[in-house]
Amino acid sequence: MIASIGLEVHVQLRTNTKMFCGCPNRYGGEPNTHVCPVCLGYPGALPVINAEAVRLTVMTGLLLGCRINLKNKFDRKNYFYPDQAKNYQISQYDQPLCEGGQLEIQLKDRAKIIRITRIHLEEDVAKNTHFGDGSGIDFNRAGTPLMEIVTEPDMDNEDEAFAFLTALKQILAYADISDCNLEQGNIRCDINTSVRPTRESPLGTKVEIKNMNTFRGAHRALAHEIQRQIREVQRGRAIPQETRRWDDDAGVSSSMRTKEYAHDYRYFPEPDLLPVELTQTQVDTWAALLPERPPERRERMVRDYGIPDYDAGVLAADRAIADYFEKAARLSGKGKAVSNWMMSEMMRLLTATGQEIGAVKITPEALAALVALVEAKTINQPAAKEVFAVLFEQGGDPQQIVQDRGLVQVSDTGAIQGLVDQVLRENERSVQDYRSGKEAALQFLVGQVMRISKGKANPQLARELLLKAIGS
């Protein structure tokens, strides 16, 4: 059996104001404080299109290679639900902003193209909260610009769907289209899945799973749903067309409604808004401002800085990290060394402290200066790590830190010779071991020199002098 997966991804756009009114588009706040007659659906209030939301949707379309419909329009989608102020949602039905397009995803062994059907713009709904004795509705979220990206059923399994969501998020974050904060519900998706015997068979009956808030949840729900459908078919049962709800804690899905109870949304053109008319010139202007996409940036960083493809992929995945890296790499002229710091200490400390690259105290200038100190052999690697840790925690100037902490590497042959002599005296056993063929003993001796120098000795030099004294 083969599964076919299509996604409808809802993305909250990063705008100052809501989709159809001047209320701030901001997460949180006291309930019902970012509201006005428009987003509360008061009598007589009228929507006005947020031009920035249109621009961000067009940018997304351009990044995904879509056709931009210069003429498009908004429609009313009618259904009653308490989180909807007007009991209709202003959305785009048959003339969306963007159509066609594709996104390439990286699988273990190859890349795969996932086709985009369309991208349209709509308004988010309010948030319902249920208490013991009733329910509350917070309209702060109501009217947030919401972009819906619909794919073709091109994904074969949960891993591909996960890869798609990840790649999409990367691009959206890159172009500042959305904050892409999953905890705040910036990206949610509905999943359509069906199964069929072979790739040649027509698509099976699709089942929709609504409102997935996390990519991992979507992955789990899909894994479960595909297996459920395969089992049903193998038992000779038909898959009914239905909408299901996924319970991530219990790890099971349950039916919400079947086809007979599907909504008739009675779409019709929104009479309160004029059709949107864009000009090609306007779209071209926006296109010229598109950021480089992650895959292209990765390739370019390999070329420009001579770093491994893997490293470039990791760094390019996040625009802020890539920007940081490129700035430090350009300042220092040592891309590979900067990349090593980024891939090791920086990533480790970011993860450990939960910080964002944009908020770290170590500046790209400081990192470049640190690399220069190592290159000039002013400090050795252990000392550099110490300096990095200090910079990460407190910021400051690496040169100053090296001086304050007395970390300048000792490269004076006379001084190190003294230390080498002392170590040889105190570790005759290891000298014997080395001479009898135990290579590891040499490393131990170097370590001893470093220890009594309090880490400041140039390890390269210490090694040379040790070898000279005990070597053949």
């Binding site: 009598p43 009991n87 009479p271 309160d272 004029l274």
Partner: protein, 494 residues
């Protein structure tokens, strides 16, 4: 000097400017007049006497301080469909009982900015659905010329209040004739500006692509002034047309010599009563005498107008009225779950005509019927618009009766909704085409019941329409006629 309540808006402004009376005097005079006659008329749904007087005193203070305003100190009343901050806005419905508007409609804000005193809420057919005011969920409005007859609808309260001297001017809304038809029935001037001319922000929507706000006044010049003040683009209404308000007061006196006046042949092929036809034909003769040239025109798709209108208007209404669910404001009847609450709230909150139209509108938008009804209606609408585009190539304005007959009696048409809908036959096409139209008094059927002459202009050519209306008004004696109610002395002394 005539009584304050008999003055036109311009005469009131003159009196205020000359200092012969204060805004408080005028406001008090109207409050007294309302107290004296409105139990018979039923035009007002709500009146805050103290607030009105306080606002009037504020206007007087403003004048004393040397501040201006084109409407400074003039009391105006609003159809109960327009949001005025701090006032109720029930739209004549039980479902909005208790709702207090938190903001001003743009049109209202513009009147206020010019110093108007906004007082009182005027009765109407529930959610502007009706042609007789019999659909108000509170109480009917009576025609000041004959208390046994309807004032027209849906802005019946707005028309009757002006006719009965309860206010010098008022605002109404017109979706398919809701200003022009009651203006005609009550013998006052009523204007529906071109779609997009006056911002709809703050006008509780019935049918968004058809609704317009407009004034009721005692003379054409007053309507021109109010239209000027309210017009002009509004960033809060995307369908309002950007740009400044038209100059109507300055242009309306230019006369109509050489104007070609179109008479749609389809409107004069039976379907209107003899008295109305005679008055309209006399009015056409009058326009001819003023130098205009009547020309026959054709509006071939007229016969589809009512069907088209009732599909588009109800479709839009079915969505527009969905927000009245008891969740955020207005009446709520508790239920076991949200759906139950909606059903109970809406069943109790809406009257029969509103329910009929919501059901009709829901039906025409439903899957499988959309193409046959809504989509086809949009196509016919385009043809109706083209009819007018063609017609206006050969004339500057079109003249028709506003209604097929003068005011009818209570209960006469309530049993047959289709008969009621057909009374809109001469007015709905204007809204479908988005052009402007107005009704000016042109005489009395049987000598007692007012009849209105409808004047239509091309979209955004209110100036043409006002030139015809003003020239006609100045040449005839209908202005200043008032219903017998006005001389009813029985109440004041003996």
């Amino acid at each position: 000097m005539a009584e304050l309540t008999q003055l036109t808006l311009h005469e009131t402004l003159d009196a205020l400017a000359r200092g012969t009376c204060s805004s408080e005097d005028v406001t008090r005079a109207y409050l007294d007049r309302i107290a004296a006659v409105d139990d018979r008329i039923g035009a007002f749904l709500h009146l805050d006497r103290d607030q009105a007087l306080a606002d009037a005193r504020a206007a007087d203070a403003r004048r004393k301080a040397g501040q201006g305003g084109r409407l400074l100190g003039v009391p105006l009343a609003m159809k109960d469909v327009l949001n005025v901050k701090g006032q109720p806005c029930t739209c004549g419905s039980q479902i909005l009982k208790g709702y207090v508007a938190p903001y001003d409609a743009t049109a209202v804000a513009r009147l206020r900015a010019e110093g108007a005193v906004i007082m009182g809420r005027l009765n109407m057919d529930e959610f502007a659905m009706g042609s007789s005011n019999e659909n108000s969920s509170y109480h009917p409005v009576r025609n000041p010329y004959d208390l046994g007859r309807v004032p027209g609808g849906s802005s019946g309260g707005s028309a009757a209040a002006v006719a009965a001297d309860e206010i010098t001017a008022s605002l109404g809304s017109d979706t398919g004739g809701s200003i022009r038809q009651p203006a005609s029935f009550c013998g006052v001037v009523g204007v529906k500006p071109s779609y997009g001319r006056v911002s709809r922000y703050g006008l509780t929507a019935f049918a968004s692509s058809l609704d317009q706000i407009g004034p009721f006044t005692k003379e054409v010049a007053d309507a021109a002034l109010l239209t000027e003040v309210m017009s002009g683009g509004d960033p809060l209404d995307s369908t309002s047309v950007p740009g400044p308000a038209p100059e109507l007061l300055a242009t309306m006196k230019q006369g109509i010599r050489g104007f070609r006046i179109g008479l749609p042949k389809e409107y004069f092929q039976g379907g209107m009563d003899a008295a109305t036809e005679a008055l309209v034909r006399a009015a056409v003769k009058q326009l001819e005498a003023l130098g205009a040239e009547p020309v026959e025109i054709s509006l071939p798709h007229t016969e589809y107008a009512i069907a088209t209108y009732y599909i588009i208007a109800t479709a839009e209404a079915s969505a527009n009225l969905a927000r009245f669910d008891g969740v955020r404001y207005g009446n709520r009847i508790a239920g076991v779950d949200p759906i139950d609450m909606y059903e109970k709230t809406r069943s109790a909150g809406f009257g029969n005509e509103v329910k009929r139209r919501i059901i009709l509108g829901t039906y025409v938008l439903s899957s499988g019927y959309y193409d046959a009804y809504y989509k086809k209606a949009q196509k016919v609408r385009a043809l109706i618009r083209r009819d007018f585009d063609e017609a206006f190539k050969t004339c500057q304005a079109i003249v028709t009766p506003a209604t097929p007959s003068a005011a009818f009696g209570f209960g006469e048409k309530t049993g047959d909704p289709l008969q009621m809908y057909l009374s809109d036959i001469f007015t709905v096409t204007t809204n479908l085409a988005g052009i402007c139209g107005m009704s000016v008094p042109c005489g009395f059927a049987g000598g007692t019941l007012p009849v209105g002459l409808q004047i239509l202009g091309p979209a955004f050519r209110e100036d043409n329409m006002f030139r015809v209306a003003h020239a006609y008004e100045q040449a005839t004696a209908w202005r200043g006629k008032r219903p017998p109610l006005a001389v009813d002395a029985g109440r004041t002394g003996a």
